[in-house]
C-alpha cells in the first residue's frame, strides 16, 4: 500500500515536471548563449470594430453630452501562444491604470501579466461602478466618486471584460498573460515584441474579442522575426 502511494506520488511529480517543462519550452529548443531578438510587424484591420453605442433609452429626458470615439478600437494585441523559458521569472508586482474618464475606460484595451494590480481611478464628476463577470477575474468595485480609485489584482491568465454598472456603453478589455511576450499595437497597427530568445514561436493577434489563427515565426539570433496579420 505504501509502495503504491509512493509510486503514485512519483508519477504525479513526473507529470507535473513534464507539463511545466513542455509549457515553458517553445516548439523548438532555444540555443544556449544566443542573443535575444524581437518579433515585429503590423496588424491590419479590414474593418474597425464600432464603439459600443449607448442603449437607446427612451426614458432619458435629454441627450447625454459624452461623445463616442473609435480610436481606441484600432489597438490590437499580439502575443506568443506559448512562452519561452524564463518567462515566469517576475519579482516585482507590476501596476497598471485603467481610468474612467468622459464615460469611457482609458485605455480601452490593457495588456498585463499575471500578478499585476490595476488601479481604476474615477476622473468623472459622476459615479461609476466598475465590474467584471468574466471567469478569469470576477469583481465589483461598487460606486465611487471622482478622485477615488480602487485596485484589482489579476492572478489568472485570460480575457477580462470590464463594464460600468451605471453606464452600459462603457466597456474595456484587460488581457492577462502569464508571460511578458505581448505587445499592444499603435493606431497604425504596428507592434514589436522585444527580448524574445531565438527560436520558432506561434504568434496570435487579437482585436476587440477576435483572435487570429496562431502563426509561426522564426526569431533569429539577435534579429527580428517579421509577421503581419489581417483581422476581421
Amino acid at each position: 500500500m505504501r509502495a503504491e502511494r509512493q509510486r503514485t506520488r512519483r508519477a504525479a511529480v513526473l507529470i507535473a515536471c513534464v507539463a511545466a517543462l513542455v509549457s515553458v519550452l517553445p516548439p523548438r529548443a532555444i540555443v544556449r548563449g544566443a542573443r535575444n531578438g524581437a518579433i515585429a510587424g503590423r496588424v491590419e484591420l479590414r474593418r474597425v470594430a464600432p464603439p459600443v453605442e449607448r442603449r437607446p433609452t427612451v426614458g432619458d429626458l435629454g441627450t447625454s453630452a459624452a461623445a463616442l470615439d473609435i480610436s481606441d478600437r484600432l489597438k490590437s494585441v499580439v502575443y506568443l501562444d506559448s512562452a519561452p523559458r524564463g518567462a515566469f521569472e517576475q519579482v516585482e508586482t507590476p501596476r497598471a491604470v485603467m481610468d474612467q474618464r468622459g464615460e469611457r475606460f482609458v485605455p480601452h484595451v490593457l495588456a498585463i501579466t499575471t500578478g499585476t494590480i490595476v488601479d481604476f481611478p474615477n476622473s468623472d464628476r459622476i459615479y461609476h461602478n466598475v465590474f467584471s463577470l468574466s471567469k478569469t477575474r470576477q469583481f465589483d468595485l461598487g460606486r465611487y466618486a471622482v478622485g477615488h480609485s480602487k485596485p484589482v489584482r489579476f492572478d489568472r491568465a485570460g480575457v477580462v471584460r470590464v463594464f460600468c454598472d451605471i453606464h452600459s456603453h462603457m466597456n474595456a478589455f484587460i488581457l492577462v498573460f502569464s508571460h511578458p511576450f505581448y505587445s499592444l499595437t499603435d493606431n497604425d497597427g504596428r507592434y514589436r515584441i522585444d527580448n524574445v530568445p531565438p527560436g520558432t514561436y506561434n504568434v496570435i493577434a487579437w482585436n476587440e474579442g477576435v483572435s487570429s489563427e496562431a502563426r509561426a515565426v522564426i526569431v533569429p539570433d539577435g534579429g527580428v522575426g517579421e509577421l503581419d496579420f489581417t483581422l476581421r
Partner: protein, 405 residues
C-alpha cells in the same frame, strides 16, 4: 491520489497558459448601423408567479406584473446632432405591438444641455416612471404608486359616495353608473405602463440641477395618445445632485382627467376641464459603494363631481410612499427590499366616514443574480395586505428572467 489530481490540474493549467479565455457568449450591446445613426436595443423579460387572486399586482384587468412576458425594441435614429427620433415598441403576453414611446428630440444648441421632446414622451413626474424596465427595477413587483389600481376611472364616475365606497378594493374591475357602464380597470396614481403625448422641455444647469416641464394630453393616472377632454396636463420636475450619488427630486402635475363623456353624463356639457388630477411628488436616491437606497412619495388629488346623495363632498386623495434598497453581496449577486404603503382620505357614505379606497401595504424582498452581464435572474417574495376587498392578504413568490441588449 489527491496529489496526482493536483498534478494533473497543474498540467492542464500550465499547458493552457497564455491563451486568453473567450468572453461571454450572448450579445450584450445594442445593434448599430448606418454609421451609428441608427441604434436598436431591446429587453425581454419573463415573470412567473402563482395566481394573484387579490389582484394586488395587476396593471390592468388582464395583466399581472408578476405573471408577464414582456418584450420591447427601442430604436434611436440620429439626424445630425440636433435631431433624433426615439421609439419603443413593446408587447405584453404576446399581445399586439404598441408604441410605448415615440418622440422627436430636438437639441437646438449642440453644446448646451437643452432638449425639446415632442410626441409620446417619457413621464416628467417622479422618479420611477421613466425607469420601470425590468433591468432598472430592483425587484419584480412595482411600487404601488405606479401600479396599484384604484377604483377610480376616467371614463366612468360614481353617482354618489355609497357607489364609490362599494368599489373599495376592486380597482382591477370597477363599475360606476355615470359614463361608461362597462366594468373596467381603475386608475393608479401614476402609471408606469403607458406614456403621455405632448411636448417636453428639459434643461440642465451644470451638473447639479435638472429641470423638466411638459404639456400633455392625458394625466399621470391616465396618459393618452388622443385627448378625451378639453384640458391639458402641465407637469414639472426639478432635481438636484448636491453630491455624487445623491439625487433629490420634486415634481408636480395638474390636468383634467375625466373624459368628456363621463363629465357630460354627470354634470352636463362644459365641465370636463373642472375634474382634475393634481399630484405632488418627492424622491430621493443615494448610492455609495455597494448600497443603493431610494424613497419616493406621491400625493394625488382627484376632483370628481358631486352628483347624488350622499355626495362626494371632498376631493379624493391618495398618498403612496415607498422605500427600497439594494446591496450587492458579490459580483453579479444582489439582495433588495421594498416597503410600500398606499393610503386614502375618507368620504362620508350612508354608513359613515370611510376611506374611499382600501389602504394597501406591501413588503417585497428578493434579489438578482447575473448569469451573464445582460441576463439577470430575479426572485422575490412579497406580502400584501389590504383593508378591504374580497382578498385582504396575499403572499406571493415570483421569479423573473431578464435579457437585454
Amino acid at each position: 491520489m489527491k496529489l496526482a489530481l493536483r498534478a494533473a490540474l497543474f498540467a492542464v493549467l500550465a499547458l493552457g497558459h497564455g491563451r486568453p479565455a473567450h468572453p461571454q457568449a450572448l450579445p450584450s450591446e445594442p445593434i448599430s448601423f448606418a454609421d451609428g445613426r441608427v441604434t436598436v436595443g431591446g429587453d425581454v423579460s419573463i415573470s412567473v408567479a402563482p395566481e394573484d387572486t387579490g389582484f394586488f399586482n395587476y396593471t390592468d384587468y388582464e395583466h399581472s406584473a408578476l405573471r408577464l412576458f414582456h418584450a420591447d425594441v427601442t430604436t434611436s435614429i440620429g439626424m445630425g446632432g440636433h435631431f433624433a427620433v426615439l421609439g419603443e415598441m413593446s408587447t405584453e403576453n404576446g399581445d399586439r405591438l404598441e408604441a410605448y414611446a415615440l418622440y422627436l428630440r430636438i437639441r437646438p444648441w449642440i453644446d448646451r444641455p437643452f432638449d425639446i421632446q415632442a410626441g409620446r414622451v417619457p413621464p416628467t413626474f417622479g422618479a420611477f416612471g421613466r425607469h420601470a424596465y425590468s433591468t432598472d427595477n430592483l425587484l419584480i413587483g412595482y411600487p404601488l404608486a405606479y401600479q396599484y389600481l384604484t377604483s377610480l376611472r376616467a371614463d366612468a364616475l360614481p353617482v354618489n359616495a355609497d357607489e364609490l365606497l362599494s368599489m373599495r378594493g376592486r380597482g382591477w374591475l370597477s363599475q360606476f353608473s355615470l359614463g361608461s357602464r362597462e366594468p373596467a380597470a381603475g386608475l393608479p396614481l401614476a402609471t408606469a405602463f403607458r406614456w403621455d403625448t405632448g411636448v417636453q422641455v428639459h434643461a440642465a444647469a451644470g451638473p447639479m440641477v435638472d429641470a423638466t416641464a411638459a404639456v400633455t394630453t392625458g394625466t399621470l393616472s391616465n396618459p393618452l395618445f388622443a385627448d378625451d377632454n378639453s384640458g391639458r396636463q402641465i407637469a414639472g420636475r426639478l432635481s438636484v445632485h448636491p453630491l455624487a450619488g445623491l439625487l433629490i427630486g420634486a415634481s408636480a402635475a395638474r390636468g383634467p382627467f375625466v373624459s368628456n363623456t363621463a363629465a357630460r353624463g354627470a354634470v352636463g356639457d362644459g365641465h370636463d376641464g373642472e375634474f382634475t388630477q393634481t399630484a405632488f411628488g418627492g424622491d430621493i436616491e443615494y448610492s455609495h459603494a455597494y448600497y443603493l437606497v431610494r424613497a419616493e412619495t406621491v400625493f394625488s388629488e382627484w376632483k370628481v363631481p358631486a352628483v347624488g346623495t350622499p355626495v362626494i363632498d371632498t376631493p379624493l386623495r391618495a398618498l403612496a410612499t415607498y422605500v427600497e434598497g439594494r446591496y450587492k453581496v458579490r459580483p453579479g449577486l444582489y439582495v433588495a427590499a421594498r416597503l410600500d404603503h398606499l393610503g386614502f382620505n375618507e368620504v362620508t357614505g350612508s354608513l359613515g366616514p370611510q376611506t374611499w379606497e382600501a389602504p394597501v401595504s406591501r413588503f417585497e424582498v428578493g434579489g438578482g443574480y447575473s448569469i451573464q452581464r445582460n441576463l439577470l435572474l430575479k426572485v422575490s417574495w412579497q406580502h400584501n395586505t389590504r383593508d378591504g376587498g374580497r382578498v385582504t392578504r396575499a403572499t406571493l413568490g415570483a421569479a423573473q428572467l431578464v435579457f437585454w441588449f
